[in-house]
């Protein structure tokens, strides 16, 4: 445990917490563009700067990377902090004058004029790296990366060609704060050449990475619901049966244990990928599988692994 002050308020936090996390846990707002709870701190956008006083010395630090140490005195909205943030916003405004979130920030902080042109005009990417990090850290696909350096730095697919490792999951588009990653789900259509037309099923395209993948259609409701390579990756990762994703999440139902048949062997919970099944021990050999629906994704893996066919 560590005790520190944020804006004069005494706060106790667990070891390993960052200043940003500590502040947010106590409803103290710090703006950020590159942080995400699912990703490691990165410190790229510089918006989360705060004033940190440690051992009598005051410095400007990025709160997302700075650990909440014992005895710190942190100010998140001092004049010096606001001034620093304004400069950062001004630079963003110069780079991306048409991005909604940048314009909102500028308005909020009263930044009207942008800095002199930096050689980049009307860009939409702020190089926060959220897409690259989500793809590497969470999806673990490693399909996109930063390319170039200095003012030529961009996010791109390898060699600016189709990203071979992209599974079209759309995580990059989901986390992008500026909305520059274009993900479109296209309905079934036909592909036409001078020789004639052939029908194609519903597809997802991610224009930025030049990727196009088939969308899986649910065998129950018929709705296209996720790109096939994405589902194949999950199937491999969690050892689902190949047929598992024939049904979409909305058509799934939570497993029900038939206690008459269940012998309590635990085959279901041994193979549950997320620990949603547990064994209810009622003494002696009387043990029954129990589904905690709050943790269950209704994947029905347990159903296959039940020797007594007691789960349906």
């Amino acid at each position: 445990m560590a005790t520190l002050k944020i804006n004069g308020k005494k706060i106790k936090v667990a070891d390993g917490t960052t200043i940003l996390e500590a502040a947010r846990a106590h409803d103290i707002e710090i703006p950020t563009l590159c942080s995400n709870e699912a990703l490691k701190p990165y410190g790229a956008c510089r918006l989360c700067v705060v004033e940190v006083t440690k051992n009598g010395m005051t410095t400007i630090e990025t709160s997302c990377t700075y650990p909440a140490e014992e005895g710190l005195d942190v100010k998140t909205n001092s004049a010096r902090v606001i001034n620093n943030r304004k400069i950062v916003i001004e630079l963003y405004l110069a780079r991306c004058p048409n991005v909604k979130i940048i314009r909102q920030l500028a308005e909020e902080y009263g930044v009207k004029e942008s800095a002199p042109q930096m050689g980049k005009d009307n860009d939409y990417c702020i190089l926060c790296g959220l897409c690259v990090r989500a793809c590497n850290e969470v999806v673990k696909a490693g399909a996109i990366q930063f390319a170039g350096s200095g003012i030529n730095k961009i996010v791109d697919s390898p060699f600016h060609k189709t990203a071979e490792d992209c599974i079209a999951c759309g995580s990059c588009a989901f986390v992008c704060p500026t909305g520059i990653i274009k993900k479109n789900d296209l309905p079934a259509t036909a592909q036409c050449t001078p020789e004639g037309c052939s029908p194609t099923g519903p597809q997802r395209e991610i224009l930025n990475w030049q990727v196009e993948h088939k969308l899986k259609e649910c065998s129950k409701c018929g709705n296209p619901y996720a790109p096939e390579p994405h589902l194949q990756k999950i199937t491999r990762q969690y050892n689902f049966l190949p047929e598992f994703f024939n049904i979409c999440p909305s058509c799934r139902q939570y497993p029900v244990v038939d206690e008459e048949k269940c012998l309590g062997c635990g085959g279901c919970m041994e193979n549950c990928p997320i620990g949603a099944l547990e064994l209810d021990d009622r003494g002696g050999y009387d043990k029954k599988a129990h589904v905690f629906t709050e943790n269950c994704t209704a994947c029905h893996t347990c159903e296959d692994y039940c020797p007594m066919r007691a789960i349906s």
């Binding site: 050892n239 012998l263 041994e270 193979n271 997320i274 620990g275 547990e278 064994l279 020797p307 007594m308």
Partner: protein, 429 residues
């Protein structure tokens, strides 16, 4: 709270690792899904195998003193329950030709014991030593970081985390934690089997000292039904073991085998006393079970299973490996080398034998009758080993190849195709 070692699974491997790691001065947390491990509902055949040099060890059993002793790995486990000697093993063909395995003078090649009693004994020792025991808790996910591991746990629906410098995953053949660490990617995966075991009294021809198996499509399944000794306390019950899959549920096969099949007469007056079941996955073994901050021990790293004695050895060695590793020495590398040279399934040659094991559907019932008739009347060495037994059997069958070529050329052609591919080839097919 950061433990020196987190162990997942209080089976023989996990408990033994906990005991010895604690004795070496480590702060140990043992995580177990079940509340009470003395009443085992996951089926297990529960045998101590006495085969010489089986999986790198020769086990001695002192029935009077209640001790299970490893002569090569150097551990000793107290066991306060009963033992039942197993002296004869029979494989039957459809027309009841038998392959018989036994030592002279009724010397046992295995002992049936009670796993619940064994585990409870080990757990009591661990608790007395001061091991932190976190039961009714499932460790469903694990992350490795530079300083150790973080286990995601759930108990009665509530999630929490356990942090440790090292981890021993003794979570069994389903190998969930190995899966989460991506370690199963290097393994071949065969699929999973569903197993049903029915304990029955009043089974005709049943003898507690026998282990029997029936090969032939006429018995209702490609996976031979087996009959072994009943559970500790009820050695007079027969243990009928049926394997299956989601498409071929073992319960259906059990009904067929005991009511309609050629052996139905054995069960005319039989009474079902209890039923247990389990699910088991078959992966090829992990080559480097100790890596990063974690060791996968026992079934979690094995080809199907290592048996209780193999798990006890793994736990014993893993405790040593972790203690050395935390001491700055290369304990993990030592563990890997021990693992590779000890377990028979790590030897491609041994694994090749198992490809010959698939008698059905390769051979028709009539062909199985013919092959078994070549063994009928002989007694092979008493052995439990799933590698040595088929090897001995095939050596006997192939003693006179000219005879088979002459009498049954079509069977000879099938035998020729057997064993030409290694296991890794047959998996990659």
């Amino acid at each position: 709270m950061i433990y020196d070692l987190a162990i997942v699974g209080a089976g023989p491997g996990g408990l033994h690792a906990a005991k010895w790691a604690n004795k070496k001065g480590l702060k140990v947390a043992l995580i177990e899904k079940r509340k009470d491990i003395s009443k085992i509902t996951r089926y297990c055949s529960e045998h101590i195998i006495l085969d010489e040099d089986y999986n790198g060890d020769t086990i001695k059993v002192d029935t009077a003193a209640g001790k299970i002793i490893s002569t090569k790995n150097g551990w000793e486990v107290n066991y306060r329950g009963q033992f039942c000697p197993v002296t004869d093993k029979y494989y039957y063909s459809p027309k009841q030709y038998a392959v018989h395995f036994a030592w002279p003078n009724g010397r046992p090649f295995a002992y049936k014991y009670g796993k619940g009693t064994l585990l409870q004994g080990l757990l009591d020792e661990c608790l007395a030593l001061g091991v932190t025991y976190i039961n009714e808790t499932t460790a469903y996910d694990v992350m490795e970081n530079p300083s150790g591991v973080e286990l995601k746990c759930v108990s009665k629906g509530k999630k929490f985390k356990v942090n440790a410098k090292k981890m021993v995953a003794a979570d069994g053949a389903s190998a969930q934690l190995a899966q989460k660490l991506g370690r199963n990617n290097e393994r071949g995966y065969f699929g999973f089997a569903l197993c049903l075991a029915v304990y029955m009294s009043n089974v005709k021809t049943y003898k507690p000292s026998d282990w029997k198996g029936w090969w032939g499509r006429c018995y209702g399944t490609n996976l031979a039904p087996l009959m072994g000794t009943g559970p500790e306390g009820h050695f007079d019950w027969a243990d009928m073991i049926i394997l299956g899959s989601p498409k071929e549920p073992p319960e259906k096969t059990f009904e067929y085998f005991t009511q309609k099949g050629p052996m139905a007469f054995m069960f005319e007056n039989a009474k079902i006393e209890a039923k247990h079941c389990c699910t088991t996955k078959a992966y090829t073994p992990l080559k480097n079970p100790a890596k990063g901050h974690s060791i996968m021990i026992g079934d979690a790293a094995a080809f199907v299973e290592v048996q209780a004695q193999g798990a006890l050895s793994c736990g014993f060695r893993a405790a040593e490996a972790v203690a050395k590793e935390l001491d700055g020495k290369n304990g993990f590398e030592e563990y890997n080398q021990w693992w590779l040279k000890s377990f028979e399934f790590n030897d491609e040659g041994m694994m090749q034998v198992t490809t010959g094991y698939a008698l059905i559907p390769t051979y028709t019932d009539d062909e199985i009758d013919y092959l078994f008739s070549l063994c009928h009347g002989h007694t092979l060495d008493g052995s439990w080993s799933q590698y040595k037994s088929p090897k001995m059997m095939w050596n006997l069958i192939l003693k006179d190849p000219e005879k088979i070529k002459r009498e049954r050329p079509e069977v000879w052609a099938k035998i020729q195709a057997r064993g030409t591919q290694t296991l890794s080839e047959s998996i990659n097919k």
